[in-house]
Subunit: 193 residues, 2 copies
DNA sequence: AAAAAACGTTCACTTAAGTTAAGAAAGTAG
DNA sequence: CTACTTTCTTAACTTAAGTGAACGTTTTTT
């Protein structure tokens, strides 16, 4: 299962056997069952996650309603805001499916950065990539209507449509579940005429 | 004017006179007049900006309409997506006011990182901070209605209301200028009753 | 200073999302 | 397998944003 991680990393930097062993020694691989809450509102966690298999979801609970803000699937990483701000978390993170994850915290990172500076470069590159992706996502969200957001989700992440309940997708798209149903009906009607 | 930059940096790391001199030698300080387009759609630029004074705006032009996605004011930095992806830019960046900026590109950064590793740490910390801020901004945008977004903008960035034309604010909030007018009228009406 | 352009507000009308409620369908647990 | 719960869809009604147009104001240009 750690092969998944090594394959991913190899796209960025080559790893020696020693480096691979060091990673394994950190004991960061975890399997987690569907529905597990990894981070709850108010928690002071310092754990970051990387998804090897499965799907994570982050969401706020406002007036009893879940507002889904992001999904993280294979080969995507998530460092909760509270890890960076060192404040209690304002949102939840839970597993939408059975998952294989890596779990790490800043102290573990510091440790391995010192032994193998190569990992620091890797993390910097990844976080730059992430920043650009996030900016594009945000821009796309702002520019598009809910209907356009739904259509581009269909195009860019068709897998999500299958794996995630509609009402979670709805709030991810920025509408109520009823509106998503209606919006889909509208699209189907259009495509027929 | 470079004092502004040194004061800002000193919140994160202490700089020696040598380090300050090295920064100044890079010749990164520029003054730019209001209305200058720093980056246009299609450009392949590798320049990043840091605002010492003034205000930058990034926006898409879609079907002849400007869609403002962000404002950058004093002590805020901007690395356009195209710098990271090395693709032609999909959006514009222009000055909303007369500005004092620093302008730098990756090769200059590499040069100074090598001489003074301290700057690399600084940039890593800043970009982590930025990532967290962006995530929070995105989440807030998703969670709120246009009216709530307007009110929280009033609260969090009251300066923008003064310095930026309404129609730019409107698309930043995610509505048409007419809707922003209406929305403001609605709020005033409410507060009276 | 006059003319032109850009900006902000208001209005009437259209379109789409929020809300409330009901019922069908699917998934889960006993 | 049945009962229960959650999820999805549909519908009628309400609320707010989009659209097109008019009009006064401000800013820019010449």
């Amino acid at each position: 299962m750690q092969e998944l991680l090594f394959d991913f990393i190899s796209k960025y930097v080559a790893l020696t056997e020693k480096e691979k062993a060091a990673l394994v020694d950190l004991n960061i691989f975890k399997t987690v069952k569907k529905g597990t809450v990894l981070l709850a509102e108010g928690d002071r966690s310092s754990d970051g996650y990387f998804v090897l298999e499965g799907c994570l979801r982050s969401y706020y609970v406002l007036e009893g309603e879940e507002k889904t803000t992001a999904f993280y699937t294979e080969m995507e990483g998530l460092t909760p805001v509270c890890v960076l701000t060192k404040q209690p978390s304002e949102y939840f993170v839970s597993t939408s499916e059975d998952c294989i994850l890596t779990v790490s915290d800043p102290s573990m990172e510091a440790e391995i950065f010192e032994k193998f500076p190569k990992f620091e470069t890797l993390c910097r590159v990844l976080s730059e990539e992430l920043l650009a992706k996030q900016q594009i996502n945000f821009d796309d969200f702002k520019i598009a209507t809910p209907e356009q957001r739904y259509l581009s989700l269909l195009e860019k992440r068709p897998d999500l449509m299958q794996r995630v309940p509609q009402h979670q997708l709805a709030s991810f798209i920025g509408v109520k579940p009823q509106s998503l149903s209606r919006l889909r009906a509208r699209i189907i009607k259009k495509s027929k005429s």
